[in-house]
């Protein structure tokens, strides 16, 4: 064996297995062996479908499952889809935005308490945050249906307090849908918030206090900015799934509270693939654009 790196000596003791006198092979290819199966899976069943979705969105809208679909570059599908379904689009984004804001407002104190105040209860509290989510998403949402039902205690209390009219209801309203979204995606807010709060060196907050910050100022000037990565991650992890959700709107709302997810689902159900695809692509593009702008504004590119 000769060395390719200018060390031609062959030590007799070391030569037999050829290891010592020649440079080890650089097995860069092994990275590809490790990567390839999973990467191919994602290309085949995530990227390709996305391309196919875009293609489908440009099919002749008059096609059907029986007659097949023809590629006619029908950009009009987008115009039609937005024309017909602008309202669920706007509604869906609005509901998701409200739910995300609510998650942030109620999730932040919880994450803060776990990170800084829980002491030896920290692990238990973390388990408790996740535990409810071992119960099926749908089963939980059905439980909310019961909680918010017309003769349930929440409506009863709300009526007593005069928050809703005597014949008013919560179920099948936007309120119920937003409540469902908020509840279902809360852990996605709490966990990233907790992670980034946990990382904060507590001495920084003490230093702020030492430098004449009131607790409120210390929070606003030190804790909150340092927890921004968690806020960004949490809001994205909450907003994205809720913007595409249709379960809450279906189980807790009615026809007037439909979100864009409901429309996409029902369009696919009836075989109106081009319209459904056009709506999906629009939703995806909007979300990707919002995520990109949001991440850039928040200055937390390392999130990726």
């Amino acid at each position: 064996m000769t060395s390719s790196a200018g060390a031609p000596s062959v030590a007799p003791e070391l030569a037999p297995d050829g290891d010592a006198s020649s440079p080890p092979r650089r097995r860069r290819s092994s990275a590809w062996f490790l990567l390839l199966p999973g990467a191919l899976w994602l290309v085949a069943f995530f990227l390709t479908p996305m391309v196919q979705l875009v293609a489908t969105s440009l099919y002749d809208p008059s096609g059907s499952e029986e007659t097949g679909y023809a590629m006619t570059w029908a950009w009009g599908n987008y115009v039609d889809a937005l024309d017909f379904y602008l309202e669920p689009f706007v509604r869906g984004f609005a509901y998701s935005a409200i739910a995300t804001a609510l998650c942030l407002v109620i999730g932040y104190p919880l994450a803060y308490a776990i990170a800084f105040k829980a002491g030896r209860w920290k692990n238990l509290m973390l388990v408790l945050v996740i535990a409810p989510f071992f119960t099926s998403f749908l089963v939980r949402t059905l439980a909310w249906k019961l909680i918010l039902s017309d003769n349930g205690f929440v409506v009863g209390i709300a009526k007593t307090l005069g928050l809703i009219a005597d014949d008013g209801r919560l179920l099948a309203t936007g309120f119920a849908v937003v409540a469902g979204l908020t509840y279902n995606f809360l852990p996605f807010m709490v966990l990233p918030l907790y992670v980034s709060l946990e990382k904060i060196d507590h001495r920084l907050i003490e230093a702020a206090g030492d430098l004449y910050s009131s607790p409120a100022q210390g929070f606003r000037k030190v804790t909150l900015p340092l927890s921004m990565p968690g806020v960004v991650a949490g809001t994205l992890l909450t907003f994205i799934p809720s913007a595409g959700d249709f379960i809450n709107a279906q189980l807790l709302g009615d026809t007037t509270t439909q979100m864009i997810g409901n429309v996409i689902e029902s369009r696919f159900e009836v075989g109106d693939y081009p319209a459904a695809a056009a709506l999906s692509v629009t939703l995806m593009v909007l979300i990707v654009a919002m995520v990109a702008i949001y991440i850039r504004r928040a200055g937390t590119e390392e999130l990726l």
Binding site: A7, S9, E13, L14, A20, S21, P24
Partner: protein
């Protein structure tokens, strides 16, 4: 494959590095390095961070592959041998103890990998050597820094390597513990007789422990020798500044007078032995260590060379000694340390003094070198 390092090992040989070079892309970390570490010695590779000392160590350990050059151990070429096929073990920086294994299993790891069935005895002996007999069942996380350091040492030494590599082994310890471990390490080395190659950026640590020190800078060895040799006769400005402190006075060599060089140091004519000079004509740096400078009262008649009168600008009392900063007539600031023997009264800032030194303690360096090389490097004081 090298013979079993535990049983029937060939007699330990010198560690030789021949034209060893390591490039990372454009950056040359180690540049055509030649080095012989005699078997059984305590050898230190000293240099600031990024000087290539750790890369050199990793090439000896087999964790890095040289770009060109050779690593030999006695008669064996181990340049391309896998790390697990070399009779060389490493004490890693911050130890790299296996967190999921007990202290006992950490120490037994190397023996087990070599197929040794009976490990109880040697592990117990080794734990005794590092005074951790009762800690075998603990996990590394449950030990103090100094204890972890000793486990790392035991884990490597138990394999009876021909060469033990220590990569900043004491860097994570506090000062007091570091001093104590320095002495312990040295005595363990004396006991086992293994070649120790110790990488550090701490000049004091290197001087305390090593028989031989190689000072590395920018991928090359600047100077190699015993601690005293390096300190008393540095050959480059980098070594002069990195090992201890030096006053470097710009000067010109006037000529030779017998065994001495006659030098014009800013108007003062001084003499020093020619063998202590790296250059013999033209411009040069005249180097004098601060403790070799003698500050006398003006007019006081003292032996040695005179650098003329100077004014004290700063006085730091540090207990065993007093450190003076003086400004010479040509405006340079020199450091002078004086032992607090009580024989002489303390001087005060503003006092006029006469600066003297003995020629036999001075050194003369190449004027082309940067007088500030190594001054602000991270050598721990």
């Amino acid at each position: 494959m090298p013979a079993d390092p535990v049983s029937g090992a060939p007699p330990p040989g010198d560690l030789q590095l021949l034209s060893l070079t390591k490039r990372f892309g454009e950056f040359t970390a180690v540049d055509d390095l030649d080095l012989v570490v005699p078997a059984g010695s305590f050898f230190a590779l000293l240099g600031p961070s990024g000087c290539g000392k750790t890369t050199t160590l990793r090439m000896v350990a087999g964790l890095e592959v040289p770009t060109t050059g050779e690593v030999r151990l006695g008669e064996q070429d181990i340049t391309w041998a896998k790390p697990y096929k070399r009779p060389v073990n490493t004490v890693f920086q911050s130890y790299a103890l296996f967190p999921h294994l007990t202290v006992y299993e950490n120490v037994a790891f190397g023996l087990r990998r070599q197929g040794r069935k009976e490990v109880t005895e040697p592990v117990r002996d080794m734990l005794r050597l590092v005074e951790l007999e009762s800690f075998g069942a603990r996990k590394p996380a449950q030990l103090s820094g100094g204890q972890q350091q000793r486990v790392a040492l035991a884990r490597a030494l138990i394999n009876q390597p021909q060469v033990l590599l220590l990569d900043e082994p004491l860097g994570a310890l506090d000062l007091k513990l570091r001093r104590q471990m320095q002495i312990e390490l040295k005595s363990i080395q004396g006991e086992v007789g293994t070649t120790f190659v110790h990488v550090t950026h701490d000049q004091e640590e290197a001087m305390t422990m090593a028989d031989t020190i190689a000072v590395m800078h920018r991928g090359v060895i600047e100077q190699m020798g015993s601690p005293a040799e390096l300190y008393e006769s540095p050959r480059t400005t980098f070594v002069a500044n990195f090992l201890g402190q030096s006053n470097l006075v710009p000067c010109a060599i006037n000529g030779r007078d017998g065994g001495d060089l006659v030098i014009d140091a800013q108007g003062a004519l001084v003499r020093m032995p020619a063998e202590r000079a790296q250059v013999h004509q033209g411009k040069a740096w005249l180097g004098v260590r601060p403790e070799k400078i003698i500050l006398g009262s003006p007019g006081e008649d003292l032996p040695g060379n005179s650098l003329g009168e100077a004014r004290i600008v700063d006085v730091s009392f540090v207990g065993v000694s007093t450190q003076y900063l003086v400004r010479t007539s040509w405006g340079q600031e020199l450091m002078a340390f004086e032992q607090n023997t009580g024989a002489r009264p303390l001087m005060r800032a503003g006092d006029q003094v006469h600066v003297r030194f003995a020629g036999a303690h001075a050194f003369l360096l190449d004027h082309d070198q940067d007088a500030r090389a190594g001054v602000d490097e991270d050598s721990a004081a």
